[in-house]
Symmetry: C2
Subunit: 468 residues, 2 copies
Amino acid sequence: MNAPTHIPPPIPGEPERASMRTAIPGPASEALRARHHRYQDARPIHFYQDARKSLGNYMVDVDGNVLLDVYGHIAAVPIGYNHPALLAAWRDGRFDWCAGYRSALGVAPAPEWVDLVEKTLMRVAPKGHTRVFTFTTGAEAVENALKAAFIRLARRRRGGAQPSDGDLAATMLNRQPGVNAFKVLSFDGGFHGRSMGALSATRSKPIHKLDIPAFDWPVAPFPASHFPLAAHAEQNRAAETRSLEAVEAALDAHPDEVAAVIVEPIQGEGGDRHASPAFFQALRRLTAERGVALIIDEVQTCGGGTGALWAHEAWDLPEPPDMVTFSKKMQLGGFYCREELAPIEPLRVFNTWLGDPLRGAQLEVILEVIERDRLLENTRSTGERLVAGLEDLCRRYPAVLSGARGSGTFAAVDFPHAARRDAALTALRNRGLEVGGSGERTLRFRPALIFAPRHVGEALDHLESVCK
Amino acid sequence: MNAPTHIPPPIPGEPERASMRTAIPGPASEALRARHHRYQDARPIHFYQDARKSLGNYMVDVDGNVLLDVYGHIAAVPIGYNHPALLAAWRDGRFDWCAGYRSALGVAPAPEWVDLVEKTLMRVAPKGHTRVFTFTTGAEAVENALKAAFIRLARRRRGGAQPSDGDLAATMLNRQPGVNAFKVLSFDGGFHGRSMGALSATRSKPIHKLDIPAFDWPVAPFPASHFPLAAHAEQNRAAETRSLEAVEAALDAHPDEVAAVIVEPIQGEGGDRHASPAFFQALRRLTAERGVALIIDEVQTCGGGTGALWAHEAWDLPEPPDMVTFSKKMQLGGFYCREELAPIEPLRVFNTWLGDPLRGAQLEVILEVIERDRLLENTRSTGERLVAGLEDLCRRYPAVLSGARGSGTFAAVDFPHAARRDAALTALRNRGLEVGGSGERTLRFRPALIFAPRHVGEALDHLESVCK
């Protein structure tokens, strides 16, 4: 059952361990925050980071504190800080074709972009996916995946006919009667971004949605496995059945109006909620039968954190999802899709930049490092240690910790309630562990793929100190 | 009346003139397109650009053609290709703090980001604006500006009270009765982006909106000046009065529901439609009286193309706009706002990346070049030559060209109908002028700020050849 241990080569010069000089945030961070807050909302900032001194798994802040990072700028740091391969590529001119202007990739891209698409983005495409649409962020990825799903549904409903003049006139007035009934089904606790289309599918917390108009779209309960799985098998199965029944009921209630079902492999903002492969297999069968696009939103899970580049690969689906979104660890946003989801007419899913060539070029280097250093293997074996260690802490501190769970190093553990979790976040940061919260009372781990057994040991030490 | 002539220093090695080896697209571009189109929609691509050989105002394509560029990757190239100052900054390490990872700017930014915000972004802030929110694209800028306007309206309607538990529960189900009635008023022909919130305000063309659900928001006619202004003064004034009456009627029809009016200084996608300073002054007065946020969408006009960093500076408004959006020539997206538009609670207008530090660092260099080389002065004087030259062509080829207009080098001229315009675009590209279309039958000029009198002469030569 255990993944073979593979330890990645160390990053030369990486600190041995966190070391703290001040409380977090320290005085230099607070001085910067005071300046910064005059112009931007600086309240959410944990601390200010010394970009050049940070290395590998360790962040250095402007007060000289060295923190072990298992949060990764909200799961967006794939191979740690200042990886030698990334810096060498920058220095050696591999990105020079991106240095002299920012291009509109749908108007006049450089030939290097075609190479990137073919040799990098398509090389790692999810199985069964033939096309990739690139954007800049996860929210843009989701917005555009939803648009492609709407366009497909409208095409089917028109039966290949052109839109009428009346359709076009109504469109310009935002009064497309059938189209405005189109819906996307999402799950409670789901997070899909914060622009208004994506936000209508987001069901994470009121603060994300409050006061922003939303489309009248249906929501189903996410099954949310209880851990350890063996002890809750029946309860988990029943929750998954109820969730699938709710999905089916929502599709029945809106025949031919639900263009897509969107779901995260593991709910990232919603509290690291997991479901079983059987659940996703059933969801794939159900959506395929109804002709509803299944969008797996891998914005937070993509890029290797679960031990695979795509978390959904672990499910053995009866057929591929229709679309898979990405961003964060991939450095630019986008979605992959099956051929039939690509709009037939040009320019319907389009914008000025369509991503960022430099972030694509860096992704190429990142994927080379992941392969060369076998970082997915590392993430699987290191992740098993991490989750085993969290389970051990749950056994030893049952009044504080419960529900250890994870896939690769995409791991989490629960506190009894929000106040305890928030206090732990602060205490951990002050001991030198940069870690994030998710959901109401969960601690989430989103380290880079170079997170190795020795870092697991250190992270668990910090957590145990705080439990005591 | 004439702006003083200021010619920017030449870019060393910039081509003397366009020179063509093949038709556009040439065989090397077509071979790349065939490869590219297997994975992405490559139909809209004009040609593939040699990123390293392009210089100054001239694009070099993969077939060795050299084209004078007055389109600028959809108005997004501020100081031309491979400007020596940008390349030197890259080479000399000014961007090295961005090289080793991509940061989440709301979690742990580097201190360099605070400097960028204070010394660069706020230095060029529109008058009266105290805060800047950064994002990655124009659509994200608009989405988030609209969200800030909704949050402000909701705060006012609650009179400072906290949302009730019922409000929060309804929010999670997308059923906020009052909030879902919130509206944004935009103008026909307006373009504000293609994500679903921004797209609901976009009224450019059916193809941008077809089949995508939209919010039930009102639209008013954009007045659309006719040129030359002196010959159409009365007609233009009447159109502006009708437009303002329609805005007022829409606000009356939805009391306390319209959170924002959004308008471009010059409609960029909608066909380079202009309105007078008096129109915008009246719109500012009207929105201020009603407590409706006025958002000036400067995504396409920002960064100097009109001869000022912000087009709305030309209007002498009775008070500043509430928000100003930007992207394109600024290289990253965002909005500036007056203090009262910033949400009171943290994390309400937020996402993972909040922009891109590298694109911000490049903007700093770009703004230095604009100041050092007095590129706004250049753009004003060169723009006068360009518009005068277009007017001259309109007089000499009245069967082909009409409606010459512009502000700085943000200029346009009309063809009799779409087919003639589209044929001209192709013919111009084949002669060596990369130019764009807008609206139904308009040719738009969006050159870089280093576009100088000699380039005007060449562009007009190409256009005259095509008129003949």
